[in-house]
Amino acid sequence: MPEAVNKTVEIDVRGQICPSSLLTTLREVNKHKQLLRCGTLQLEILTDNHDSTNRICDAVGNMGYHVEVLDEDNYYRISIVKLAVKMGL
């Protein structure tokens, strides 16, 4: 039975040169793979780039995670969690 999310890691890639937002996100997803897969960790990426937001969602979504974009003040917050956690399984 999956555990509930009890830790959130925030990665701020605002203002950076493309494609470092996507490369950094993929690196962080890989680094926290175990906790993300067992559903106890949520990754939050802060970015201000339109295309990176789409690319991150595509890439991480294809890896089997649930991805959600929140439009914050002057940036986007991309939340990445295990798919089953979001579905309440």
Binding site: D12, R14, G15, Q16, I17, C18, P19, S20, L22, L23, T24, R27, D48, N49, H50, D51, T53, N54, C57, D58, V69, D71, D73, N74, Y75, Y76
Partner: protein, 370 residues
């Protein structure tokens, strides 16, 4: 007498529209080439393909109906040489390291990007530096000249309309396949996002308007050299006066609005190129800024790793140099020369691929911190 006000207004309007369109769609040409090598997947490159194909159709139709009247080679697109390929390769490296091409840098600068400000400074430095070895580069260009044909139809000795018709048939087939498979549409998760394929169509229309009214496709880099020379002139006026590159006025073009041929150069003076390009540059920056503010996404983040800022500066310098060596930038060649089947532009575009590959390798290995 040239009505300068009308030209400035038209050019600024085209810049404003381009800035808004590019910002809303994130139409990053550097990213299109870079992602092909970095991620083996570049969905935005299809939009660039669409832009080139539509521009080809529009330019040729305008030529056949008498709306446009041009003959190559001219100052716009000259005879091909190996230096076009070398310039394209160097430009490809520079644009990936800078995080945007010559107009990508402008629209990112307009939306408040700090790396884009570094890249812009680099572009001015690189463009001015070229003046130091312009005579040598011209000799090399003459020595590596690849014949007397300026365009693909001239090289093949076939009518331009026939060659363009065949190419458009092939491009149309490919675009139709992409459209059926939904590959031209990007996921839309952002409010205010403009689909890149729509941006491509609008930018092709802007290119046609610029060519028809102002006598040239959109381009900005000679004016980067002008601004760079102006800054250098403040510190070393004697040196700038001694450089042949900044003294020549060998760029000439026909301005349809006033039915006059204008002469211009890269020197720090107000001339026919400054008249068209400076309002365009200002328009792109302002347009992008307005777009970012209206979306509530004007960047206020200045905590960018120093390594990335340095990369943007160095990339800008390389890109500024390459844009003069090629000669001209990616926008001039991709949005204007490629649709006209200029051999210079074809060589430049071919050079962009290995350049973007080298740039992507350097970026992933040395710039993104592990």
């Amino acid at each position: 007498m040239v009505d300068q006000t009308a030209i400035i207004v038209i050019s600024a309007f085209l810049g404003l529209a381009s800035g808004i369109i590019m910002h809303r769609s994130d139409f990053c040409v550097a990213g299109m080439f870079r992602d092909l090598f970095l991620f083996r997947h570049s969905p935005l490159l299809r939009s660039l393909f669409l832009l080139v194909a539509v521009s080809m159709f529009l330019f040729q139709t305008a030529q056949l109906t008498g709306v446009l009247n041009y003959n190559l080679p001219s100052s716009l697109y000259g005879l091909p040489a190996l230096t076009n390929l070398l310039g394209g390769t160097l430009f490809g490296i520079g644009m990936v390291l800078a995080g945007g091409c010559v107009v990508g840098t402008l629209y990112k600068l307009g939306s408040g990007s700090l790396p884009a400000a570094c890249a812009f400074s680099g572009l001015l430095i690189g463009s001015a530096l070229y003046g130091e070895f312009h005579p040598f580069w011209m000799q090399l260009t003459q020595a590596t000249r690849l014949g007397d044909a300026a365009t693909l139809p001239q090289l093949l000795q076939l009518p331009p309309t026939l060659v363009i018709f065949i190419l458009l048939l092939m491009a149309g087939g490919l675009l139709y396949q992409w459209q059926i498979k939904g590959l031209l549409v990007r996921p839309n998760r952002i409010k205010g996002y403009l689909q890149p394929w729509i941006a491509a169509l609008l930018l092709a229309m802007i290119g046609l308007t610029s060519f028809t009214l102002l006598g040239m496709p959109i381009g900005v880099t000679t004016s980067y050299a002008k601004i760079g020379a102006l800054c250098e002139n403040l510190m070393f006026p004697g040196h700038v006066a001694s450089l042949s590159y900044f003294q020549s006025h060998n760029f000439s073009y026909f301005l349809p609005l006033s039915r006059q041929t204008l002469h211009a150069g890269a020197g720090p003076v107000w001339d026919g190129l400054a008249l068209v390009q400076l309002p365009l540059i200002a328009g792109i920056i302002v347009g992008s800024g307005l777009s970012a503010v209206s979306m509530g996404k004007f960047n206020r983040c200045f905590t960018v790793p120093c390594r990335q800022l340095l990369s943007a500066l160095v990339g800008g310098i390389i890109m500024g140099l390459a844009a003069r060596m090629a000669p001209a930038c990616n926008i001039w060649h991709l949005f204007g020369g490629l649709p006209l089947l200029s051999l210079q532009s074809i060589l430049f575009t071919l050079g962009l691929f290995p350049g973007a590959w080298i740039g992507s390798f350097i970026f992933a290995r040395y710039i993104v911190q592990q």
